[in-house]
Every structure is written in C-alpha cells, then in structure tokens.
C-alpha cells in the first residue's frame, strides 16, 4: 500500500543524500537530506505511538511552513492517523473551533503565539491531550501546563520508543489502507464555519500521480526542480506542491522565512516551479510597475520599451497558446539580453520553467504580462474537495481566460441545467468530517462532486469559469452578472488590491474598492500629495479620481449591465482578524457588504 509516508521512506532509501528541503537558518539555507527527513519523521512517528495515537486519530499542526510541519505530517500518515492543518493566522476562536471539531488529540504549535491561542480555548477542546511547541522562546520555564511538551521532549520520547520497539511504525505502515484518512483539510469558508474535507490515502495518491505525470500539467518535475514553499501548508494547493510533489517526484522544497519575505526569498531560491495565488502575481506585477516608474530616466525609458515589447509578445503568445513564433522568439532573445534576464532575476523567476496560478480567479492581463516576459504561466483549477485535481492549462496549449483542459484520469462535466461544474475521479474526497449533511449536499444524486462554480466548456474542451454559484448577481433588470470577472479586471491594476462588486436585485452595480497601500502611497508621493494614514489616503480627491479612471477604463470592456456605476473606497485594509477575509485572504463578500453597509446604502441612496 503506497502512502505519502512510504514514498518518503522509499526516496530516503533510494537517494539518501539528495537534498529534500532547505530552511533558512541565521542567514544560511540549511539543507536537509532525504535520509534525515525520513529519520526525523520516523522518530516523530514513534513519539506519536508512545503517546498512544491510534489509527484514525487526528494530529493538528499550527505552524508556518517548516521542516517540522512535514515531519509531523509524514509521521502522522505513517501511523495511520490524520493530519489537520491550521492556518498560522487563525485567531484563537477559529483555532478553538477547528481543534474541537476535528477532535485533535495532539497539537504541534509553532511558538508562544500559537500556544497561547490553544491554551485560551483548551476548555472547548476536551479531546486535546498534548500541545507540542517548536520554539521554546517565551514558553520554556515560564509555562507549566501539564499538556505542554517541547519538540525536543517529543523527539526524546520518540527515540526511546524507537529503541524499545523498532518495528512498531513499520507495522502501522504495513497495515495502512486505501481509505485511511490521510488529512483533514478545512475549507476556508467564505460562508459559514470551515468544513473539514477528508482526503484519503487513495485521494492523495491519485492527486500525486495526476499532477506529476507529463500528460497532466505537461511537465515532469524531478529532483533538480526547486520550489519555494510559502503559502499555508494547510491549504490543499501548497500541500500538493510542497509535501506531495516533494515525496512524489523528489522536488527540492525551500521554505520561505515568512509570507512577507516571499519576494527576497524568491530572489535567493530562484525556483524552477512556482505556484502562486492571484494576489502574489498581482503583487509582483505591481512591484515591476512601480520599479519602472521610480527608475531614473534612462532605465524608465528602457523599461517602457521592453515592457511594451513584452506586452506585444504576451498578446502573440496568448493567441498561439504559448508557442513562440519566429518573430516573438527573436524579439524575446534581444529583450532577454537587454532586459528580461535581469528583470526575471530581480523578481526571482530567472529559472522558473513552469508557473502555476490557482486557488482563485485571476485576470488574464496579469497572466499575459508574465507570459510576455518569458515565464511559462499556466492557470489551473481544482478545489479542496477534489484534492486540487480538475483542469489545467498545459505548456504551449494555454488559453487565457480559461482554466484549461481536464487532467488525465479526471472527469469534469458542466451540469446542463445549472451550469455548475462537477467532477468525478479517484481524488474526490470522502466527505466532510462529522458533517454528513454537508457531505450529502456536496454530491449529486449520481455521485459527482458539486464544485459550486459555474462555467462552460468550449468546443475543444477548455473550461471557462464564470463565478461561484452563490456569487452570481441578478440585477433588478433580471440580468445575470458574474462579479468576480469584473473584480479581477479591476484588480489587474497595480493600484487596486480588493474589489467587491455588489448589486443583487439592485438597478445597477456598485463596487467597494480597497486600494493597494504601497503603490498608491508611492503614486501620491510622486505627485507631492501629503497624507497620513491609509484612511486619509483613501479620502484624497486625487486618489478617488485615480480609481475613477481605472473603473472607467474597465467599464469600457463591459456590457452596460456589467458596468460599475458608483464606487466607494474602503476606509481600511481588509483583515482576517476582523472577519473580512478568510485565512486564504479571500474576501468574505457577505461580511464586507454588511460591515460597510452604510457605504453601500450611500451609493444606492441617490437613485431609489
């Protein structure tokens, strides 16, 4: 029986001294070899056994991406227990909900901050027996809770158990079954509380095979590929790219220091395969735009020249699906020498051979920019419930604005009546944990997974996603409008970070706009516009004018019903702790609409 744990074990036996992962420690990228990876995982597994973790028990991890996350995950799977990931940004209440709902018996918490969250909600989690902390700073010799244990103690326990019962973990590995729940992935929950999707060993195995084969994403990752692991590991996409790609293909994982150091870490690591959520790509695009604008005159003119050319190359590539023509190849070769090589080095994408965007819809303009500067950019589609396996754009067959074609072995259909996309394959999840009702709702009568997304297939099999089913707006005039398309068009501007289009059962569409603080502040500075806070910045007439221009521009691409008539700038940056964003930084539309109801009412007030 092949699990992600046996994959790691076999890799450690086959290539014990290859680099499995790197973590930055005091300025150095410390390498961890496969042998050491498996050895640490095995010790942790023994420790879990010694603590009485039984098959099917849940082990939670509340940490940033780091080797211990993987050790715990592999150890947990190897003893047939279930890993539960918590977002590092989850507030204490959320932590309490996730720990009690999952019934985790052991929690691996990163540091004092996460331990504090767990201790605060301990009463609501009766099943939680141990809290293992990784960073002793602030905890050691100050906290004396009987459930607390340091990582060192855990390893110590594991080593003792390993000496006493050397074959214990192997027995568990041998007994592993297809339908063992390898992990619970809690969905971010834009509406209602998070739901724990149960992914089995066979789900994970299928997902690894489907995403690694040359026939699916169109590349074959291998031991020479590097990735940067920076998105939360509890998200299915990062887990696929980090843990599963690593175990499945030997891809070297490099852990970013934190989400805020992604850009410098990218420059250091220069990964070959790069997955990003739209927010990351938009941010890089904004960095380039600002970098060019703030450059000295010669560099600015030079930047405009080559980015202009890149734009034309991007358009050409978008038309050919990513295949170079002789002309674009020549143009790019010249640009490579003068500009693109240095630019890609600066943004950490010099060696990227396959870039993936997923987890949320992205504006085609953003993708086209990256294609223009020579990065093979592919939008992919999947969700937690189907282990991120559905469709993907493949190299040289890219179609912008679509999420590509079915992956090998994956069945995807669009329901004729509702237009909902549905999938059926071996990686479709086993159901929501402790929630049979939601599980029942997630499947159609004939056993297909409802994705909750509306879309359509083109004649030649490219899937285009319109929006989430529940986000589709129906205006007072009875027209269906997909807000996310409009929003993504707006977010392609470097000055806009968030856009929430509203207008259900209203005569016209309005938008709540969140500006990108960095770029707008920079813009204001160059105009000599004085401002104090974010809020002050949003209230400047010039800034409103700037946004007005962007919206006017975007409106020209839209049909009359889909044009934004009025907008307001959000007076604050949306935040997870205020319940406006999910842990994956997706906007909770309903929460935002309620919170800023006065702004929305203002916009509809004049035209009652």
């Amino acid at each position: 029986m092949r699990t992600v744990a046996t994959r790691v074990r076999d890799r450690a036996r086959a290539t014990p001294h290859r680099v499995a992962m790197r973590e930055k420690h005091l300025g150095l990228w410390r390498e961890i070899e496969w042998q050491s990876y498996w050895d640490s995982s095995l010790t942790v597994a023994h420790a879990l056994l010694s603590l009485g973790i039984e098959p099917g028990d849940r082990v939670a991890v509340h940490a940033e991406n780091r080797p211990e996350w993987l050790y715990t995950d592999i150890a947990t799977v190897s003893i047939r227990a279930t890993t539960v990931g918590l977002y590092p940004t989850n507030p204490a209440s959320e932590v309490g909900y996730l720990l009690s709902h999952s019934g985790s018996r052991l929690l691996v918490a990163e540091d004092q901050e996460q331990v504090d969250k767990a201790l605060a909600v301990l009463e609501s989690c009766p099943e939680l027996e141990w809290i293992v902390y990784l960073e002793p700073r602030g905890i050691r010799s100050r906290y004396h809770h009987k459930k607390l244990m340091s990582w060192q103690e855990l390893l110590q326990r594991g080593a003792e158990h390993r000496a006493a019962h050397p074959g214990a973990v192997d027995e568990r590995i041998a007994a592993a079954a297809q339908e063992d729940i390898a992990t619970l992935v809690y969905t971010s929950g834009t509406t209602g509380p998070p739901k724990g999707a149960m992914l089995t060993n066979s789900n994970v195995d299928f997902a690894i095979e489907a995403s690694l084969g040359g026939g699916s994403y169109g590349i074959t990752p291998g031991g020479k590929d590097l990735i940067l692991s920076y998105l939360p590991l509890c998200h299915v996409a990062e887990r696929l790219l980090t843990t599963w790609y690593n175990a499945g293909a030997g891809v070297q994982v490099n852990f970013a220091e934190s989400i805020s150091t992604v850009q410098p870490n990218l420059r250091e690591v220069q990964p070959t395969i790069l997955f990003g959520v739209p927010r990351i790509w938009e941010k890089v695009l904004a960095t380039v735009t600002i970098g060019v604008q703030n450059a000295t005159m010669f560099k600015r003119l030079n930047g405009r020249l080559w980015l202009g050319l890149a734009d034309r190359i991007g358009h050409r590539l978008a038309a050919t699906g990513g295949r170079h023509t002789a002309r674009t190849r020549l143009a790019y070769a010249i640009g490579w020498v003068c500009y693109y090589r240095a630019l890609r080095e600066r943004i950490g994408m010099r060696w990227v051979r396959h870039a993936l965007s997923g987890a949320a819809p992205i504006a085609p303009e953003v993708l086209r920019f990256f294609m223009g500067i020579g990065i093979a950019m592919h939008e992919v589609y999947g969700m937690t419930e189907n282990t991120a396996i559905a469709t993907a754009n493949r190299p040289r067959k890219v179609r912008l604005g679509t999420v590509g074609v079915r992956l090998d072995g994956a069945e995807v259909r669009v329901d004729a009546d509702t237009g909902e996309i549905q999938t059926r394959h071996a990686a479709v999840f086993a159901g929501y944990f402790r929630d049979p009702e939601a599980t029942a709702r997630a499947f159609t009568a004939d056993g297909w997974l409802r994705t909750g997304d509306v879309g359509e297939f083109s004649v030649d099999g490219y899937l285009r996603i319109t929006d989430r089913v529940k986000d589709i707006l129906i205006t007072a005039g009875g027209k269906n409008v997909a807000p996310s398309e409009i929003e993504n068009g707006l977010k392609a501007s470097p000055y806009l970070k968030e856009a929430v289009v509203l207008g259900d059962r209203k005569p016209y569409l309005v938008a709540l706009i969140g500006i990108e603080a960095d770029t707008v502040a920079d813009w204001a500075q160059r105009r000599g516009l004085a401002f104090t806070t974010y809020r002050d910045l949003t209230e400047k007439p010039e800034v409103v004018e700037l946004v007005q221009d962007i919206i006017r521009q975007a409106n020209t691409h839209q049909a009359t019903v889909a044009q934004i008539k009025k907008f307001r700038l959000l007076p604050k940056e949306l935040d997870e702790n205020d319940g406006e964003l999910t842990a994956t930084q997706k906007v909770k539309r309903a929460a935002v609409a309620t919170r800023f109801a006065d702004l929305v009412n203002q916009m509809y007030g004049g035209a009652r």
């Binding site: 300025g27 150095l28 990228w29 410390r30 390498e31 420059r267 250091e268 690591v269 220069q270 070959t272 970098g291 060019v292 703030n294 450059a295 000295t296 560099k299 030079n302 930047g303 080559w306 500009y339 240095a342 630019l343 600066r346 010099r350 060696w351």
Partner: protein
C-alpha cells in the same frame, strides 16, 4: 543554474570574491598588472612601482583615517621612520652613515614596519585623549619634531640636503635593484612592489572586515557610542595607530628603494598632506580607494610633465610662472575640493555608483 544569493555556508556569504564575475575580473586584473612589466618601458614601470609602494602607505593611512576616523597629518613622520630603519639595517657598514649590512628584504621590511608601529603605539595615547582637529594638529607636530631630529642626526640620515643611500632590496641573494640577465632593474622592482601591494592590501581588507575593522568603524562613526557598546577605545585606537604606522613604515622602506637615495627633506608637511589627499580622492574607508588614490596621484605627475608640450604658456622651468610644479599643487588642491564637494566617497565612490547602477538594473533600487 547558479543562485548567487543562496548561501549554504558563511564562507560563501563572506567571500571577498563572491561571484564568478569578480573572480574572473580580479584574476584578469592581476594578470594584466603582471604582464605590464613586459610591455611598458622602464620609466613607466618605475612610476607604477612608486605607485604600488605609495599605495601600501596610503592603505595604512586609510586604516587609521578612513576606517578608524583618526585624522593623522603625521604620516610623513612614520614613513621617515620606516625609510631610515630600512636604510640603516641594509646600509653599508663601512659607509658614511649608520649601516648594519643586512640587505635581505625579509629582514629590513618587517623591521621597518615594526619600529614604525612601535613609535605609532607610543603616539597612540595622544589619540586616545584627543580627537578631530586637535588630533590632526598634534600629529602635525610629529612632522616638525621628525624634521628637526632627522635633519640633525647626520650619522643616520646624512643630514639635510645631503642624504644617504636608501635600503637595498635583496631577495634570496638576488639584488633586485640591479638588472639581471633576464630582467631589468625596474621590471624586478615593479614585480616586487606589485606582489607586496597585493599582500598588504589583502591583509588590510581582512583586518577591515574582522572584529578589529568593525571596532574601527564604530569608533569613526561615534567614539562615545562605540565606547558604550563595549569597545575598548584605548586599545583599538592604539591598534589603529600601530597598524597604520606599520604600513607607513613598510611603505617608507620600499618607496626609496626605487630611487635609491633619500634626504630628510623628503619627509615634510607636503607629503603628509598629499597622503591625506590620496585617501580622500581615492575613497576614505576602502582599500581599493586607497590604491586608486595612490596610483591616481602618482600618475598625475607625468601628465603635468607632458603639459608644456601641449600648452606653450606652461613651462617646466621652476623659476618661471606658470610652471608645472605650481600647476601640480593647484591640481591637488582643486581635486580635494572637487571630490569633497561632489563625491565624498572618492574615486571608489564613482565606481560604487557605476556598479550599483548596473546592479539594480532594470530598476533604480
């Protein structure tokens, strides 16, 4: 696929030549410098050898002034101590002036440095008590004291206006100041000076990035703050002066090998001032800057000497005006003013500016 920013060891993070481009460029530079001896005529080689020897002294001054912030106008004094120590050790025992007859450079060069360093360490207590302008004035005093002592001590120096033969460079029994069958005198001296310059520069660079160098920087930026940080001011200022004097002593010993003769009049205030000018124009607080500054000023004089043939109004006759010697002095002054106002980091600063322009490509930062 190279990833220059991904360091696995501190040694790669700290390496002086941390990229392949730098390694190649440095090797090429050294190769060209070595081959120049075969390409240039002897008078140019003599000039370059002088530049290299001067550079050693300027590196020393830069350690005290540029790195540790201790402005010293007494550098000429330390050069003199080194020059006379070297000359006395290697001098003819039966000659007019003091001489021990030990001509091996392996003996007199370290000795010249150590004697100067010892005197530097004696002077250092002044620097511990004084700073800024006061220190500059006090070190200025050294030049006058030295001028008097060397002028009167005829057994050692031969006396003002008369002088004595300089140190004799002999390495493993070979007199480098005499042409051999294979190479001319100037080729040999040039190679000697070049090798020593590389060694001294490398040593200084390593001192500068060590604990000592960081202490120097802290003292330069604010000695009170440095003291509060736990840096022993007396100790590090003494090290700065001793080290700087060591370099000056060595440079003094070497510098006069090339001409073969020295008089006490060589070591006047103007020499100290030119040394400071070299540091400032080259780039205070950098080793490369010190080397640049030394060569820049050394190579300036053949330029001004070529001036009379280009501009008829200028003569090379010191009794008429305007002559090249006056122009040279004016040029020194003007250069100091221009650099301090427009590029305080000196020639090296120009290089840094150029390099960071391309390093930041395609952005500005």
């Amino acid at each position: 696929m190279n990833r220059p920013l991904m360091h696995h060891r501190y040694s790669s993070d700290m390496a002086l030549l941390n990229t392949r481009a730098k390694k190649v460029a440095m090797l090429a530079l050294l190769a060209v410098a070595a081959l120049l001896a075969l390409l240039l005529t002897d008078d140019y080689l003599q000039l370059l050898a002088t530049g290299a020897a001067t550079a050693i002294g300027i590196i020393g001054l830069n350690l005290a002034t540029g790195y540790a912030g201790q402005v010293s106008l007494g550098h000429a004094f330390f050069l003199a101590i080194g020059a006379y120590t070297a000359a006395a050790i290697s001098g003819d025992p039966h000659g007019r002036t003091i001489g021990l007859g030990i001509t091996s450079i392996l003996v007199w060069l370290p000795a010249a440095g150590l004697v100067a360093a010892a005197v530097g360490a004696l002077v250092a207590p002044l620097a511990v008590r004084l700073r800024g302008l006061y220190l500059a004035i006090v070190t200025l005093g050294l030049v006058f004291v030295g001028g008097y002592v060397f002028g009167e001590w005829r057994e050692l120096t031969g006396g003002s206006g008369i002088g004595r033969p300089a140190a004799v460079p002999e390495l493993f029994g070979v007199r480098l100041d005499r042409s051999t069958a294979l190479f001319t005198r100037d080729q040999q001296l040039y190679w000697l000076m070049l090798t020593l310059l590389v060694l001294f520069a490398l040593a200084a660079r390593n001192v500068a990035r060590s604990r000592v160098g960081r202490a120097f920087n802290a003292i330069r930026d604010r000695d009170i703050a440095a003291g509060i940080m736990g840096i022993n001011l007396a100790r590090y200022k003494t090290i700065a002066f001793a080290l700087s004097s060591f370099y000056a002593g060595c440079a003094g010993g070497l510098l006069f090998c090339i001409t073969g003769y020295l008089t006490p009049d060589n070591f006047n205030l103007a020499l100290s001032v030119v040394a400071i000018a070299m540091v400032l124009v080259g780039g205070a607080g950098t080793i490369s800057g010190a080397v640049l500054g030394a060569f820049f000023f050394t190579l300036l004089s053949p330029l001004t000497k070529a001036l009379p043939s280009l501009v008829p109004a200028v003569t090379d006759d010191a009794t008429r005006t305007p002559n090249i010697f006056q122009l040279e002095t004016v040029a020194y002054g003007a250069l100091i003013v221009v650099f301090l106002v427009f590029e305080p980091r000196g020639l090296y600063g120009l290089w840094v500016r150029l390099r960071s322009y391309w390093k930041a490509w395609p952005f500005s930062y």
